[in-house]
Symmetry: C2
């Protein structure tokens, strides 16, 4: 089957490798002409982690790459999804299956990523692919469980059939809203975890997991999803990879931030926390962990005071 992966960052590049190597699809990896990642891929057919089979094509012609495939996997920065979609027309996307392999919420609007897609492509088959898993682990052959969700059971089945392999065991989600919000929000919990690590309060990551899942579950429920989804693979199930793993970019960002270590770029959880706080206001849900992360990153508050206040404040009932 012909699959085009849009986005040649670490995860997009892995997905192109995975679709070709593990699922034997005919794969095109799209990247922007001026992207250094893309130029490296074209020149070396590899990046710092992956060497691609020769069957994988590289293209900087978005429309051509999309038109030539039946399945379009999108893995671009959540905040640039809208501008990416503006380059496509509904006509050239008709009849194709789109899979969002991204974790975020649009910060300017508070929209879920499938909502952003629907503004441009109201009629295409659309699914999200979320849950735990680090490129480095997969490349070592360490398997994991992930989630495919969609408004359509038929689309879920099709996407799972297209991408299943011994390396990734897929589960069918049944709460698209909850899985999108949960997948995005875990990056914020990851930043908080990194802050605790950086403050030598790693022991509080247990309390963080207990409170984080509940905070996000409440938000999901208020938005019309199911609270239990926060305890599924897309959120709690992604905590090993996000709250504990040395590979987690968001965790490392939080650790570096509180230790005043220079960090290359903002983690995806930073715009996400802004979006979540908007949603918390809109749906009248208290989000103390998101507020704490925001007050440190964007409010210049003292991390130790804020994080300690979060977990060690006055005695109360647990629930």
């Amino acid at each position: 089957m012909k699959v085009t992966v849009c986005g040649c960052g670490r995860w997009g590049s892995f997905l192109a490798w995975y679709a070709a190597q593990q699922c034997s699809h005919t794969v095109t990896l799209y990247g922007r002409e001026n992207s250094t990642h893309f130029q490296q891929l074209v020149q070396t057919h590899s990046n710092e982690l992956i060497t691609f089979p020769d069957t994988v094509q590289f293209s900087s012609n978005l429309r051509g790459a999309v038109q030539s495939a039946e399945v379009i996997v999108i893995s671009v920065g959540a905040q640039s999804l809208r501008s990416f979609l503006q380059e496509l027309t509904a006509a050239e996307c008709a009849g194709k299956t789109f899979v969002l392999c991204m974790k975020g919420i649009e910060a300017t609007t508070g929209l879920r990523l499938t909502q952003v897609v629907r503004e441009f492509l109201p009629d295409v088959a659309l699914a999200v692919w979320v849950g735990p898993g680090h490129v480095q682990d997969f490349l070592q052959g360490i398997p994991n469980c992930m989630v495919i969700d969609s408004d359509s059971m038929e689309v879920k089945r099709r996407v799972v059939k297209i991408f299943e392999s011994p390396l990734i065991r897929f589960y069918f989600g049944d709460d698209l809203l909850g899985n999108e919000v949960g997948a995005a929000a875990k990056n914020v919990i990851g930043i908080a975890a990194g802050m605790l690590d950086g403050l030598n309060k790693t022991a509080l990551k247990g309390a963080l997991m207990s409170r984080g899942t509940r905070e996000i579950g409440r938000l999901i429920q208020a938005m019309g999803g199911r609270e239990i989804t926060a305890y599924g693979l897309a959120h709690l199930g992604d905590y090993e990879a996000t709250v504990f793993s040395r590979y987690s970019h968001n965790r490392k960002f939080g650790e570096d931030f509180v230790q005043n270590v220079h960090y290359e770029k903002l983690a995806e959880g930073v715009p996400t926390v802004t979006a979540l706080l908007q949603l918390g206001e809109r749906y009248a849900v208290e989000l103390p962990i998101c507020k704490a992360v925001d007050s440190v990153i964007n409010g210049g508050q003292e991390p130790n005071r804020v994080l300690s206040g979060l977990f060690l404040r006055s005695i109360k009932m647990e629930f």
Copy 2:
């Protein structure tokens, strides 16, 4: 206030130090005359981690130690709680407050530890003290959140007041059954986590957390507690300390077991898994993770096949 701590293992010894050092109580630490731990304490006023203030008394006279105190903290092996209680009479315990600082379920009966206590001491004030926290972290001044639960709100308040400090922030539990079962069960999840580490499948600890909490939540609910309690400090909140920490005895046991490394003694999670499987049958709840751990430890099954089967079996709905 006069506090006697019964049990001079690592946790009991820490609690004696904590009650004296952090809460300024008059503390007696009881241990068995023939215990090597106890003999070391008497001779050196220290163990491998702790040096005790001179105010702490050491006694191997159980009845004397209990009679002389208003608050009795019990921290003995869960499977020897019954024989410990047989040495006490209701008369000498009357009017005292008992606090169980232990995590387990009686394997021979499937009884919760407070149920075992009630067989001997039906009328004493009784609370449990559970949740995350490693001695090594506390001794470094790293704070944590823990839970006090009891059938009596008045007892909860009293016990929190007696033991609160900047080092431990207590929350009031409101599901004694759920907190006892959850606290015991996390040791079984810890063993499973260690097995995944030992099999180089650490990445599956995310899925383990998601499924483990749900499995134990269902059991708690079937037993008459609240499912949400599995997501509180006593269970999920203890995963950092149990599923990830290098200090976790249960995690290390699981890792050593699958790697055929010699281990000193069985982890507390081993008798607990036997008890949980009994409860699963009694209350008709499927416990796939507990079954898997049991089939490896007690059934001689091949760990990699069993653990992979648990997470990587056929595609299905997540909930």
